[in-house]
């Protein structure tokens, strides 16, 4: 399945790439499993997953055609509890932004629930599924340590100006800039970590703008996204005419 976002400009093109479930995103950092667990803060490194029911193989399930059509995710198969992961994305060219996170999650990941806000995006999934998705979201080009952030609480910051090092504001100060890298000193719920976790250096401003999926004066001006604006206008008109006279609209 491929997806063509309306328009031929570079923002539209990048949006199409983001929303293509076959895209293999460039890996730019390695986060050991132990450090990922620390950042998420749901369990102690090395401990098992919290379970809310026995593994499905141990349960006698009612005959249900949906079970045959939709195979359970590994987390569901093992009875993992549902955990959460939340990102805040700066307006200043975070590689992913909330609405497109939502769309990306929808076409790429199974068994996740998500809520889209203006600055943040919440994902809920079975624990081991969530960790798998978190790994891709944090290790690849989809994350920039200066403009994207893990925040379970006090998410404010997406629209703030940036600090001297180009980092997004965080009232909880979960991360610091040290020797060219961004180090998390607190987990997503702002509990202090025993050992800081580096997420590497921020991308350059040029690179962030080049890969931006936001229409802005320093990428592509929204006024110039004619195909997109026409497409939205078409949706608006169809909703309008459909509401006024559904039968005629169907014709």
């Amino acid at each position: 399945m491929s997806f063509n976002y309306p328009g031929n400009d570079r923002v539209a093109s990048r949006r199409s790439t983001i929303l293509n479930p076959k895209t293999e995103f460039r890996k730019i950092r390695e986060i050991p499993d132990e450090e990922l667990v620390l950042l998420l803060g749901h369990r102690e490194p090395g401990s098992g997953y919290r379970a809310i029911h026995p593994p499905l193989d141990d349960l006698k399930l009612q005959d249900d055609p949906i079970l045959k059509m939709v195979p359970p995710t590994p987390g569901a198969q093992h009875g993992d509890a549902i955990e959460f992961l939340q990102f805040t994305d700066s307006v200043y060219h975070s590689p992913l932004v909330p609405v497109f996170r939502s769309r990306l999650y929808s076409v790429r990941y199974r068994g996740v629930d998500h809520v889209t806000y203006s600055g943040r995006q919440l994902m809920e999934a079975r624990a081991r599924d969530l960790e798998k998705h978190a790994k891709e979201l944090l290790e690849t080009e989809l994350f920039d340590p200066a403009r994207s952030a893990l925040r379970g609480i006090t998410v404010h910051g997406s629209s703030m100006r940036l600090d001297e090092n180009g980092l997004m504001f965080d009232a909880r100060r979960r991360y610091v800039f040290k020797e060219g890298e961004v180090w998390y000193v607190k987990d997503q719920m702002a509990h202090p970590l025993d050992k800081p976790v580096s997420l590497g250096p921020p991308a350059s401003e040029e690179m962030l703008i080049k890969n931006s999926i936001v229409y802005r004066k320093d990428t592509v001006k929204y006024r110039e996204a004619r195909e997109l604006l026409d497409h939205l206008g078409m949706i608006f008109k169809r909703c309008l005419y459909g509401g006024f006279n559904p039968e005629r609209e169907q014709e």
């Binding site: 909330p98 504001f169 008109k237």
Partner: protein, 555 residues
């Protein structure tokens, strides 16, 4: 367009204490936290005294282990638009601002009752004469009974007038001859209060009908809900008829009560739907069209200012009090509401679109409200405002949430569409289009989770012929499924703008328009934002004070 003074830019420079508001970089974490705020220092000092006297802690802002550490970035103050009042965010919180409370109270405690049916009962059923003299006498009596005086039975308890001194009743009629023959203390004089042309049209519409505008005491709506208002007014009015016209017997009383409570009563708000059930005269039941009627800024200012004042009034009423208080509970959406009446932002954006409309279409209400026009105006509104957010990172910082931004942008589009087309339905469609699609696809972010769900359904609903979906925009309000917080400013702005464009002297009701021109109201509805500024500065004289009941109180 000409280079003009941009008051929004001036305000932003001042509140952020910087000359360069185009820089997207700043510094954080060194401003002294909550200590930047004089209000919070004051709150903490008071909280310590309270905790000591009551033995239970309260307000622990200075504790580092409780919640978010406030003040990690520069804590900018706010200018209230159209004023020179600089205040803190806390000053615009519903509980902290007495003017905002009184604005709501003055609306909620108002009820309008037609006197014609009661006069017919007096004349035809009871054989009484009704003349200007008897009406004057009745008005004296009703101004005794409505604030809590007794007329019929002995040994009844009465109300201390000091506690209900904001309560009274007045007469409203379009009949000039009758009006001139009445005691002027009791008359809402449309001719004196409105510009000549507006007064003439309002008088013509009201005609010879006579209405009694009753204000029950502020304290009444503080001890009960809006459902008390028409009942209080009706009961005290029936008693006044009995006393003024020497009427006895049960059946006439029932007729008066029927007239006052049901037959000829205009409550400002309807009962809300079961899931959001509230009594009549609560804010959720007030139709959008009444907001521009309650607002009186058109009597003293230009069209755009009137629209801005109406938006401030309705935005606060619906978003801050109704959605934030009644429906959500808690401290509520101060920031989203404040964005529409602070720092001259909405004013500046609407001025831009006003000029754009003049240039593009040649004036107000000059263009047919079709889908392409709505699309064109909405696009220009969104593109202009987003350009400004790009140009001024401090503005984006000030409007830090999607709901805040959408509240502003949708209102700009709605006002502009209303002005250009003079069509309120088109203006609402523009607001919903902005909310549902236009901003989302530009920024890749919108409002909060599900916040645009109502907008996605509202475009087809608005033009649907199904009775549960469509309604004349002026009669819509937050008491419908397709409404939620931060969605009140644009319908009010759009509807008010549509009628302004057509030169209408009222939006939905000339009676409501005239009733709120009454100079005896505590809140001055001509200057909504100035009154709120007084509340922020703690200079507003509110009603409903109970100080005389305190130990040592006198009155």
């Amino acid at each position: 367009m000409n280079e003009k003074r941009n008051l929004m830019v001036e305000r932003l420079k001042e509140i952020f204490d910087t000359d360069d508001i185009t820089d997207k970089h700043t510094s954080f974490y060194h401003f002294g936290g909550w200590k930047q705020s004089k209000r919070k220092q004051e709150f903490i000092k008071r909280a310590k005294q309270i905790a000591e006297s009551r033995g239970i802690p309260i307000y622990l802002r200075d504790r580092e282990d409780i919640g978010v550490p406030l003040g990690q970035r520069f804590y900018e103050p706010l200018y209230i638009s159209s004023t020179d009042t600089l205040c803190e965010r806390d000053d615009l919180q519903l509980i902290n601002n007495s003017a905002i409370q009184q604005m709501g109270d003055d609306i909620k405690r108002s009820v309008i009752m037609g006197l014609d049916l009661a006069h017919r009962i007096l004349r035809e059923r009871l054989g009484k004469e009704v003349t200007p003299e008897t009406i004057n006498h009745y008005m004296e009596v009703v101004n005794h009974t409505v604030p809590g005086g007794v007329v019929a039975q002995e040994h009844m308890a009465e109300v201390n007038p000091e506690l209900t001194k904001d309560s009274y009743a007045k007469i409203l009629t379009g009949d000039g001859e009758l009006k001139d023959s009445l005691d002027q203390r009791f008359v809402i004089d449309v001719d004196r209060l409105f510009p000549e042309e507006s007064a003439g049209r309002i008088n013509d519409e009201i005609g010879s009908k006579i209405f009694q505008v009753t204000r029950v005491p502020t304290l009444a709506v503080r001890i009960a809900d809006g459902g008390i208002v028409h009942r209080w007014a009706s009961q005290q009015t029936v008693l006044a008829f009995i006393a003024a016209y020497s009427v006895g017997g049960g059946a006439p009383l029932a007729d008066f009560a029927f007239a006052g409570k049901h037959a000829q009563v205009i409550t400002l708000g309807n009962t809300t739907w079961p899931r959001r059930a509230r009594a009549p005269n609560e804010f959720g039941g007030i139709p959008y069209g009444y907001i521009g009627d309650i607002c009186q800024a058109d009597r003293v200012s230009d069209s755009l200012t009137y629209i801005m004042e109406s938006i401030a009034l309705g935005g606060i009423l619906y978003d801050l009090i109704w959605w934030g208080g009644y429906m959500g509970g808690g401290v509520g959406p101060v920031n989203g509401t404040a964005s529409i009446y602070t720092n001259e932002v909405l004013d500046e954006f609407c001025r831009y679109m006003d000029e754009w409309i003049q240039h593009k279409y040649g004036g107000y209400a000059t263009v047919k409200p079709d889908a392409n026009i709505i699309k064109e105006i909405s696009q220009e509104s969104v593109c202009h405002v987003l350009d400004e957010y790009d140009n001024y990172p401090v503005l984006l910082e000030e409007h830090w949430g999607g709901g805040i931004r959408l509240n502003v942008i949708s209102t700009v589009a709605s006002v502009a569409t209303g002005l250009a087309t003079g069509n309120s339905l088109a203006s609402l469609l523009a607001g919903h289009y902005v909310y549902s699609h236009l901003v989302k696809e530009a920024m890749g972010r919108n409002a909060w989770g599900g916040g645009d769900a109502v907008d996605l359904v509202s475009v087809p609903d608005l033009v649907s012929t199904f009775p549960d979906g469509a309604l004349v925009p002026e009669l819509r309000g937050p008491n419908i499924f397709s409404s939620m917080v931060a969605h009140s400013a644009f319908p009010i702005g759009g509807i008010t703008a549509s009628h302004v464009a057509r030169g209408h002297p009222w939006i939905l009701s000339p009676i409501v328009k005239a009733a709120f021109s009454d100079p005896n109201l505590i809140f001055d509805f001509r200057y909504v934002r100035k009154e709120i500024a007084k509340g922020a500065k703690r200079e507003f004289h509110f009603a409903g004070d109970r100080d005389i009941l305190k130990p040592g109180g006198s009155g």
